[in-house]
């Protein structure tokens, strides 16, 4: 919950958070070491200096850190756990659903627990996925198509076996498919960040929602071409968000493109915690205005209503959360009682007004 000085209320859903262990004890090899080092450069390169963590903390942060950074200091009402397994790089995995589930089970109102699947697991994986869905009430998955496994350097959403898994998602009501692209994938001579397989899947499975993480970066343009044709494609703003600090111009330019092609109803705020912490992202985004020239050249606006949707209301729709009813419970839980809420005055009913109830 964030209340702006103008009195507007924002229900905040952080669409992409992690609870990882990238510490040397868990690293399996140089790839694991390279992975967490690369993450740390993302973190230290784009965060304001006062929000940069020591490397050791970054490699493995505690649950207290996570809970405090999200729900006490970070204005986050609900966070969506997106797993990243990387079992070839980390002994216990980098950030598995089972690890996230420990917090989900203790704070069920605060987390949405997403799972994952990998078509290379074949029939056995299908059965295991079904068990996970039943056990945890899973409503979404995060797919990392560039994950290495033995000799395989990745997979594609239009692989026949991936279609079996998507069909299983549809059957089980796991409607939200978060897709993450990475730099290494078979075949290596093609563009690894290519997002056209999402186009294929979104057409084949119109009842599923495809949330493309980091809005297809570094291929925002190609992501936009797909999203404009496929109404069930959404953009997760992870990785683009922190640009708001060191490169507000490019942040504004990119956001204007997304607003032009997708519109404000199909964008989801994400911090990608602990890549970045939500506190400063939320504060800066709510204060952000598109430069007049950008707005004039693209014909788009970033309004308070648009920001409310992006900050949380769009995600609420995808995950079936009633922000007013759910929010009233969060206000009085152990985090809600001590949470930062921004500079605005207590405004009863402002949120209900924002969601049109």
């Amino acid at each position: 919950m964030y209340r702006s000085a103008a009195g507007d209320e924002y229900f905040v859903v952080d669409g992409h958070v992690h609870w990882w262990d990238g510490s040397p004890d868990n690293q399996k090899n140089d790839y694991g070491k390279g992975w967490i080092s690369c993450f740390y450069d993302y973190h230290s390169g784009l965060s304001p200096a006062e929000y940069v963590w020591p490397r050791e903390k970054y490699e493995k942060y505690s649950e207290e850190d996570l809970l405090n950074d999200l729900f006490v200091e970070g204005y986050v009402d609900v966070a969506i756990f997106q797993p990243t397994y990387l079992l070839d790089f980390f002994k216990e995995g980098f950030n598995t659903t089972a690890r996230d589930a420990r917090l989900k089970e203790r704070y069920p109102d605060r987390f949405i627990l997403n799972s994952s699947w990998d078509p290379r697991d074949g029939e056995r994986g299908l059965a295991e996925f079904e068990e996970k869905v039943a056990r945890w009430g899973i409503k979404g998955v995060k797919l990392y198509t560039a994950e290495w496994r033995g000799d395989s350097k990745g997979w594609s959403l239009d692989d026949p076996m991936a279609e079996r898994y998507l069909a299983k998602c549809q059957e089980l009501g796991v409607k939200n498919i978060h897709v993450h692209k990475g730099p290494t994938i078979w075949p290596l001579n093609k563009d690894a960040f290519d997002v056209t397989d999402i186009d294929h899947a979104a057409t084949a499975f119109p009842e599923l929602n495809f949330i493309v993480e980091h809005v297809g970066m570094p291929r925002i343009d190609e992501f936009c071409w797909i999203a404009v044709q496929e109404p069930n494609v959404y953009g997760g703003l992870a990785v683009l968000m922190p640009f708001i600090h060191p490169r507000p111009k490019y942040f504004g330019d990119s956001l204007a493109e997304l607003l032009f092609w997708l519109g404000e109803d199909r964008l989801l705020f994400s911090s990608d915690y602990a890549l970045w912490t939500p506190k400063w992202l939320v504060e800066k985004f709510i204060a952000f205005e598109l430069p007049e020239q950008t707005a004039a050249e693209t014909g788009v606006q970033l309004t308070v209503e648009g920001k409310q949707k992006i900050m949380g209301l769009n995600a609420c729709k995808l995950y079936g959360i009633d922000p007013v009813e759910h929010g009233s419970r969060l206000r009085v839980d152990e985090f809600g009682q001590k949470a930062e809420t921004g500079p605005g005055p207590q405004a009863e009913g402002a949120l209900a007004e924002a969601v049109g109830t």
Binding site: T184, N189, P218, I220, C224, F243, P246, D253, E257
Partner: protein, 237 residues
């Protein structure tokens, strides 16, 4: 003895194909060592995980560019601190093809990928020039603009030269009577379609510029000391 400056100047013409910027201006050149007629160059990249396909192109292009410098007998270009550093370095040094170096991970060479990014680079370099031509005399005049007329008002010589260079990369004809602004396949533009065409060009430019900013920021973070300067850099409007 070959001059280090000559080597650096040659590397100035080597582009990151994805970002369409020189490896020198991107600060990817970590070291140049000249030993008589032999030259050794170290290239570094923004992350451990940068796509090996683009890395391979840069290393191979850098080797060719340096070996074209008069007096150079042999150039060895080493990719450093990358997950595929050794394979890329030794592969290019041994004159092997990408497919031969990554037999299990690749199903072809890099020509198609390179062309894909040359098409993007063309569109992105064209956009400000074409906008200036439209501003000067409207879409119809822009569609009929000939190369011999030179750069539209408001476009500086360097910008014009870059655009001509990207046309050349695609093998487009260069005579003075040639149409200056075509689509990347070389087809003339319909005046009425130019606003929509430019709308798409803008998206491509914004994507490429943001990607470039991201990569330079990561490089600054990775190699220490540069973050504050990078974050504080005034962004040219």
């Amino acid at each position: 003895m070959v001059a280090e400056e000559a080597v650096r100047a040659a590397l100035g013409g080597v582009l990151d194909p994805e970002l369409d910027q020189s490896v020198v201006s991107l600060d990817f050149v970590r070291a140049i060592a000249v030993d008589g007629p032999d030259v050794r160059v170290e290239l570094r990249l923004p992350t451990f995980w940068c796509s090996p396909s683009f890395a391979y192109m840069m290393v191979a292009d850098a080797r060719s560019a340096v070996e074209a410098v008069p007096g150079v007998r042999r150039a060895r270009v080493e990719l450093v601190e990358h997950f595929a550093a050794e394979r890329v370095t030794e592969g290019v040094d041994g004159g092997r093809s990408f497919r031969a170096v990554f037999p299990d991970e690749a199903d072809g060479e890099l020509d198609e990928l390179r062309r894909r990014f040359r098409l993007k680079a063309f569109v992105v370099r064209q956009e400000p020039v074409l906008r200036a031509a439209c501003a000067a005399g409207g879409e119809a005049a822009a569609a009929a603009w000939r190369l011999g007329r030179g750069a539209p008002n408001g476009v500086d010589e360097a910008q014009w030269a870059e655009y001509l260079g990207r046309r050349r990369d695609l093998g487009m004809p260069e005579g003075p009577a040639e149409i200056a602004f075509t689509d990347p396949q070389g087809r003339p533009l319909e005046p009425a379609s130019i606003p929509d065409y430019l709308r798409l060009s803008r998206s491509m430019r914004v994507s490429l510029e943001s990607n470039t900013e991201f990569c330079t920021g990561l490089l600054a973070a990775r190699y220490g000391g540069g973050v504050e300067a990078w974050q504080g850099k005034e962004v040219a409007a």
